[in-house]
């Protein structure tokens, strides 16, 4: 059971592109704007514009187009179900019928609209996570949520915990692998079986893994306190997020899209 071969955490592809270089905060904000806007688009032209914009994003990100499309298979089932349900169940002017199945003109339109919206929503979020490292994303989220700290929302603490989590996934993965091998050497059987069998066989892995996780937490907490960690207040950063004119261009591009959508 080679865990590290099966496990791939995150989707980030480190490339040197214009989209990659944008500030994480700006990217998060723009994705939010785009995912709300798509619900107001209900014409073919509008959808075409949105997809052209998404395509431009993918091209600018230098992520191989087929790789991007392959990532869409996660929601293929949902898109297909949505399309079929709308196609057959929306009533209107009949264009085709066979036995109890009828397709209406409205059904075709709504089916296309709904599945396009789904694909676009999934596409823009994928573009964000493909081009932004998880650490930059948590950092960006902390800044985006900053206004909420005024009402007591613990944005810094949440970002700290997320960063610790991301940092420790590879460490725990190595640990899990070591434990698995040690237990197999003692005769543990991790072979696949039924659900109960599988759950039972994982006990010799989980107990030492939990114990080791708590040990690590203890060590890290002591190390942080020894360095006088006292939460987010007045804390400085090693890497500051900086916006430049590229981010302004990205904002203007999205604004341009919004204006164009108003016109068509």
């Amino acid at each position: 059971m080679e865990l590290s071969k099966q496990i791939l955490i995150g989707q980030y592809i480190p490339l040197d592109s214009w989209i990659h270089s944008l500030d994480a905060r700006v990217k998060i904000a723009l994705v939010l704007v785009l995912s709300v806007i798509i619900f107001f688009v209900d014409t073919g032209k509008g959808l075409g514009l949105c997809f052209a914009f998404l395509l431009l994003g993918v091209l600018l990100s230098r992520i191989p187009f087929f790789y991007f499309v392959r990532g869409m298979r996660v929601i293929a089932f949902l898109v297909l179900t949505t399309a079929l349900l709308n196609l057959f169940l929306v009533k209107g002017e009949t264009v085709w019928s066979w036995q109890f199945l009828t397709i209406s003109k409205e059904g075709v339109q709504i089916s296309l609209l709904m599945s396009s919206r789904l694909l676009f929503l999934f596409g823009v979020t994928s573009l964000l996570t493909l081009t932004t490292s998880p650490i930059a994303l948590t950092d960006g989220t902390e800044r985006v949520l900053f206004p909420l700290t005024l009402v007591g929302f613990p944005a810094h603490e949440l970002a700290l915990m997320m960063t610790i989590a991301l940092r420790f996934v590879p460490t725990l993965l190595l640990e899990a692998e070591k434990i698995t091998k040690a237990q197999m050497a003692r005769g543990a059987d991790f072979a696949p079986g039924g659900l109960a069998q599988k759950a039972k066989s994982l006990v010799p892995l989980l107990v030492p893994l939990f114990v080791s996780a708590f040990h690590r937490a203890d060590e890290l907490a002591t190390a942080m306190e020894a360095r006088c960690y006292r939460g987010g207040k007045n804390r400085t950063r090693m890497k500051e997020l900086r916006s430049d004119y590229n981010d302004l261009v990205a904002v203007l591009l999205v604004l341009g899209l919004v204006c164009l959508l108003q016109v068509v």
Partner: protein, 190 residues
């Protein structure tokens, strides 16, 4: 858009009120971070895979473990950290409200298991686990209904489909957690 807004605001309210994080010691914050890492790792060990994309994994075990050991406050927080991270790592975005329900809120729901943290006995652990998973199930079901309301034609029964689909992968994961948690809580020292 209005479907589910009330529970989502309600939950967010609970989280903000309960999470007086500043009073929490560094150790608790670090424990949350590391157990979330463990949950992310365990989410990759699949027990069952459904054809529609739902998966039964062990991800709930560390989250429920921490809630049952440290109480509901930590439990809610651990969900609030895990949910958004899961979204960042494997996003499935279909609707803005669906994202909020499926990620932060659903995993926050698991934290309710912590209401049984102070009570000893195996039944309390089982009751906590059941309550937590039930709340997570409700969030996913509501999110499914939001999805149907936004994308499916009128006249379908979204609740039935949504609850059947979510139960199909949550039930096995729940049973496994129910079996493993009392054992882990006994074996892993405080």
């Amino acid at each position: 858009m209005d479907l589910g807004t009330a529970p989502h605001l309600f939950w967010l309210g609970i989280c903000v009120i309960i999470m007086d994080v500043n009073s929490m010691d560094t150790r608790a914050k670090v424990e949350i971070g590391i157990l979330v890492a463990l949950a992310l790792l365990l989410s990759q060990i699949k027990l069952l895979r459904m054809p529609q994309g739902g998966e039964a994994s062990l991800e709930m075990v560390p989250l429920l473990f921490l809630a049952l050991r440290r109480g509901a406050k930590v439990g809610f927080l651990v969900g609030l950290v895990y949910g958004p991270l899961k979204f960042v790592l494997e996003p499935v975005s279909l609707h803005p409200l669906q994202i909020i329900l499926d990620y932060p809120l659903a995993f926050c729901g698991l934290g309710a298991a912590g209401f049984f943290a102070g009570i000893s006995g195996a039944w309390a652990k089982a009751a906590g686990t059941t309550l937590g998973v039930l709340l997570r199930f409700l969030c996913h079901t509501l999110s499914g209904a939001v999805f149907f309301a936004a994308f499916a034609p009128k006249g379908m029964n979204p609740w039935l489909y949504s609850s059947l689909y979510n139960a199909s992968y949550l039930a096995p994961a729940f049973l496994v957690a129910l079996f493993l948690l009392p054992y882990l809580l006994r074996k892993v020292p405080e």
